[in-house]
């Protein structure tokens, strides 16, 4: 069992309160996933040509040396310590140039997210702890996805936590389990997709990374996943402009969607949505099995 939440602001005023409402939703899903929690926050969008990368560092990394080395190679670079070994790197460059450089110079770093808008924060422990460590409740943002993990098939570490980055401003959270992830991981590795854990959900993320790299739209990639991924899943996928939700055709894993004039929300259970303003008067429904639902700004 795990918990998923997604919140998408439809108005500017709701964007200012997004972190506050999102945090309440994530915390409500604590008993579906008390092992670790994570958040993909889409905010502080950078202008064209600039990117930001959130990396998970080792304990011994000196971030000032990293900042100096970065600035000698890339222009307009900066490094911000977000706490809990998360560093936010911003540079004027292409994502691939920076991640390739990082992999060579700092192989011990794990890239958590990359893009112009997305920032992923994730950590072991209760959702409440993660929300406080990164001050998520005070953030504004256009949309956010979150995950509370109850580990079933691999270890409880930060690297095994969700959300998983799947490319430029794209990420994935997953409730369920995949049965063909080992074979699929091997196939994806041959296509040049990197994995930082033996987690099944990371394989689904890697699959999307591959399909998006090959030119699929999010909708097309998810529809193709229906035939290539074997197992149980409710997926929520974050993109620069919005998010998408899809359940496997058997649909054992729960999902509820609700919408008002101010927000669109999805969650594993309605009680996470019930905390939102005017949820009482909003329609709430379950997404159909095997159907892609998406929203964008």
């Amino acid at each position: 069992m795990c918990g998923i939440v997604g919140l998408f602001a439809k108005t500017k005023s709701f964007e200012n309160e997004l972190g506050f409402h999102f945090s309440k939703m994530l915390e409500e899903m604590t008993d579906r996933g008390p092992d670790s929690a994570g958040c993909a926050m889409y905010h502080n969008v950078l202008s064209d040509g600039h990117i930001k990368i959130v990396v998970l560092s080792g304990d011994l990394l000196d971030s000032t040396i990293l900042a100096d080395k970065l600035s000698s190679v890339f222009s307009e670079s900066s490094v911000e310590d977000l706490g809990s070994r998360h560093l936010l790197i911003t540079v004027s460059s292409e994502i691939n140039n920076v991640t390739t450089w990082l992999r060579t110079e700092y192989p011990e770093l794990t890239v958590l997210s990359a893009g112009r808008s997305i920032e992923i924060y994730k950590e072991k422990g209760l959702p409440n702890k993660v929300i406080e460590e990164f001050s998520i409740a005070s953030m504004s943002g256009s949309h956010a996805l979150g995950h509370t993990r109850m580990a079933t098939e691999s270890a409880i570490t930060t690297a095994h936590s969700h959300p998983f980055s799947t490319g430029d401003d794209v990420c994935l959270v997953h409730n369920g389990s995949l049965s063909n992830h080992n074979r699929l991981r091997t196939e994806l590795q041959k296509k040049g997709i990197n994995f930082s854990s033996d987690n099944d959900s990371e394989v689904a993320a890697g699959y999307l990374t591959w399909r998006l790299r090959e030119g699929d739209s999010i909708d097309k990639a998810l529809n193709r996943a229906l035939s290539d991924l074997d197992g149980f899943y409710t997926f929520a996928v974050g993109t620069r402009d919005g998010f998408a939700v899809m359940r496997d055709p058997i649909a054992c894993k729960p999902a509820v969607i609700s919408e008002t004039d101010d927000w669109v929300a999805m969650a594993s259970e309605y009680r996470a949505i019930a905390l939102l303003p005017n949820a009482n008067n909003a329609p709430a429904w379950e997404p159909n099995p095997g159907q892609v639902y998406s929203w964008s700004h």
């Binding site: 058997i250 649909a251 729960p254 309605y270 709430a284 379950e286 099995p289």
Partner: protein, 229 residues
Amino acid sequence: MDFNYDLAVGTTRELNQKLNAAGTEDADVSVRVLNPKGAHALAVGMTSNVSVDIEGHVGYYCAGMNQKAHITVLGNAGPAVAENMMSGRVVVSGNVSHYAGASAHGGLLVVQGDSSSRCGISLKGANIVVRGSVGHMSAFMAQSGSMVVCGDAGDALGDSLYEARLYVRGSVASLGTDCIEKTLREEHKREIDALLESSGVTGADASEFRRFGSARNLYNFDVDNADAY
């Protein structure tokens, strides 16, 4: 004695204790439950004829194991509403999630909206009336009781069905293994009429329904499988 219970200030455990303490064999007590906000396991294990109105959406397992009580959800219900109901009546004004009425032995479950997958899975004698449609694998391994669906049924209806009777007014995406269409006789129309009437569902005529039941091919050992032993 009638009372209101507000879950914004109370707890699920206290509510269920108060509900069970409220009913007696012959007194009919009415209880309004406010602010359920998707909470789990509301009004479970009822054993007396209390009338409970829950004003809002509920989470998992609402009205599970119900005996005698009349429970109304004014909203949607999460997975496994009225699971293992023994008697009484459960009405949901909105939609229900998976496994509605799973393994229910007796009583009546009425869904005014739609049901998602596996409605009436392993049904053991209760009756289910759905005003809207039911999702895939509904009535899977259903053993006895009846299910009346005024809308459509999803894939694999009645897979591995025993002796439950299934009535569908709309389309059926596909039938499960060993489930076949059977003739709708007068006795079946009378049963549909009676269930619609007791459910308060109007606008559907018994003659518009099709009946589905077990082909009973899975009941007996097939000699073609002898080599497997």
